[in-house]
């Protein structure tokens, strides 16, 4: 992990989408007046004839994407996570997921790391809402390269995909030799003292904790779950068997997201105590994103404290 080099997953998304547009003319991008923030503006400048701004109208955003997909287009529909999974939930459910249409919902500004905008804009329930929709693949990437891979890979999935992206710039974790596969988590480290299962922005926090703890002789492994659904059951069960503790951490309500997914896997296959870290069933608040990670105890120091308990 390169703590010095940071990039927000929304930035990686926007840059890679513009590259993908060069290779696949069926890629159509839609946005709802947030293209400068979601970074679809990069695609818009390059391919104005394939970019459609619907204005502040997220319900229509999802419906138009659905209609475009029936003509063989691959629409990437972008807005903030709270307006995608939240405001347009029922459009996603009835016009995209139920008919199993090939729409890619790319939701930026998820989680409390939105920062200063506060609770109305900090989506903490999207993983829960999206993973309970049949046909939906749900992703949440942790760094630059992984996001770039996901942007390309989701075009190959024939069906709806929801990806959760973040505003906050986070460290680069992977290099070009690393390989990713939808539905397969990534194990970093072989420690057996504990497994910390993370997703999105919390992966780099877990890796920072891993490094600090190793200096104290405590060896943990970190699992990066970039695909929330289908989740990597095999890897989660293996870690439950090989390590002493299972801890999950997410920038999302502890109800319904990563922690719940891990509990579902383990309670059915390998009953194990799971310690869930995340936003503890409250709404967020305004503040600097990194300070909020500390405030809500989902940063590296919170992980260290949890492990040392």
């Amino acid at each position: 992990m390169n703590i010095e080099k940071k990039i927000a997953t929304r930035q990686s998304y926007g840059e890679e989408l513009a590259k993908l547009g060069e290779e696949n003319e069926n890629i159509i991008v839609l946005d709802a007046d947030l293209s400068t923030a979601t970074k679809t503006e990069i695609f818009a400048k390059k391919f104005p004839e394939r970019f459609f701004n619907v204005g502040i109208a997220e319900q229509n955003l999802m419906g138009m994407a659905a209609g475009l997909s029936t003509f063989g287009k691959i629409p990437y529909a972008s807005t903030f996570a709270v307006f995608a999974a939240g405001r347009a939930y029922e459009q996603i459910r009835n016009s995209i997921a139920y008919p199993n249409l090939n729409v890619k919902i790319c939701a930026t500004h998820a989680g409390i790391t939105v920062g200063e905008d506060g609770a109305t804009h900090q989506m903490l329930e999207d993983l829960s809402l999206m993973r309970s929709l049949p046909n939906m693949t749900v992703m949440c990437t942790s760094d630059d390269l992984q996001t770039r891979w996901a942007v390309r890979e989701m075009a190959k999935v024939n069906g709806p995909v929801y990806i959760r992206l973040c505003r906050l710039a986070t460290p680069v974790i992977y290099n070009e030799n690393d390989k990713f596969e939808i539905g397969k988590g990534i194990q970093i480290g072989e420690g057996t003292d504990a497994t910390v299962i993370a997703t999105g922005v919390t992966v780099s926090e877990a890796l920072k904790a891993q490094e600090i703890l190793s200096k104290q002789g405590i060896n943990i492994r970190v699992i990066d779950i970039h695909t929330i659904k289908p989740i990597d059951k095999e890897l989660i069960i293996k870690c439950a068997k090989e390590t002493k503790r299972i801890i999950t951490i997410e920038d999302h309500n502890i109800i319904g997201g990563l922690g719940s997914s891990v509990c579902e896997v383990l309670s059915e296959n390998c009953p194990t105590k799971v310690e869930r870290m995340g936003i503890e069933d409250v709404f967020g608040r305004s503040g600097n994103a990194e300070e909020l990670l500390k405030y809500y105890k989902i940063d590296s120091s919170a992980i260290i404290n949890k492990i040392l308990q």
Partner: protein, 278 residues
């Protein structure tokens, strides 16, 4: 083959109405009122307007219809069966376990259904996406979208119209089934929607007012829509809820109720007589 003979179309529309009664009676549920009100519109579209072939329901260059008022599924299924997309006998399985004829249309289960609908307000956005895709592909497809008059209380309808006019989708034709009744009463009293022509005109649509039960008028309206450039069209089709079955006409109680055996027999008899009178 496109039919333009008015008598022939009137006959087909009555058969479509019989199918609506057959489906809802056997299902013991469904929405006969709003299905009967759009039977003539759908008949004209499927038999005289749309470029479609029941043998090629997935032809990428076909015209599309989105039934945004998805609860009128009996009307859509009946017209598709009349057109030969599937056996009319299947109408008797409507809404039953194991049937593909779901309460609201499912594009993955029924040949000829171009979009899954049922939740009001959503179909028009999909139609706008389709019309836009046809423009991008230079496919020349026309997209028709049947919307209920109560349905336009949904804000998403107006979002969709904004995108349709912004993108100058003259290949999109919206038809408003203006039967003036929704579940809780008259549309101007329940949702407060009135001045339809002014509302749609001010949103930039080409507005055509017509009698939704007069085949000649409908044919004219669709021809005018086809000739209109740079703007999407809305045809405000004045209709009667329950049209063709006298005891159902203009009765809001028949919005979502199926006929019993006696009512079924009365309805079929009246429709059979209507065919004889053409």
């Amino acid at each position: 083959m496109k039919i333009t003979n008015v008598e022939a179309l009137n006959k087909i529309a009555i058969n479509v109405r019989k199918g609506i009664i057959e489906a809802t009676y056997n299902a013991k549920s469904g929405h006969p009122g709003g299905s009967l009100s759009c039977a003539d519109i759908l008949t004209v579209l499927y038999f005289s307007q749309m470029n479609i072939d029941p043998d090629k329901p997935n032809d990428p260059n076909r015209d599309r219809l989105v039934l945004s008022k998805g609860h009128a599924s009996p009307a859509l299924y009946s017209v598709l069966a009349e057109k030969g997309y599937f056996d009319k006998e299947l109408l008797k399985t409507f809404r039953k376990v194991g049937s593909n004829l779901q309460g609201h249309p499912d594009m993955n289960k029924v040949p000829g259904v171009d979009m899954t609908t049922g939740s009001l307000g959503q179909g028009l956005s999909a139609a706008v996406g389709m019309a836009l895709a046809s423009k991008i592909n230079k496919a020349g497809c026309k997209v028709y979208c049947l919307v209920g008059d109560g349905e336009i209380e949904e804000g998403q309808i107006w979002e969709a119209i904004n995108s349709a006019t912004k993108n100058k989708l003259d290949n999109l034709c919206i038809i408003l089934d203006n039967n003036n009744l929704q579940i809780d009463g008259e549309i101007n009293k329940v949702g407060g929607i009135n001045n339809l022509t002014d509302r749609f005109s001010s949103f930039g649509l080409n507005v055509i007012n017509t009698d939704g039960h007069n085949i000649d008028s409908l044919l004219d309206a669709f021809e005018t829509a086809k000739r209109t450039k740079e703007k999407p069209t809305i045809i405000i089709a004045k209709t009667i809820k329950g049209k063709g079955v006298s005891f159902m006409e203009n009765q809001v109680g028949w919005h979502g109720k199926a006929p019993n055996e006696k009512e079924y027999n009365m309805a079929i008899e009246e429709l059979n007589n209507a065919i004889l009178q053409i």
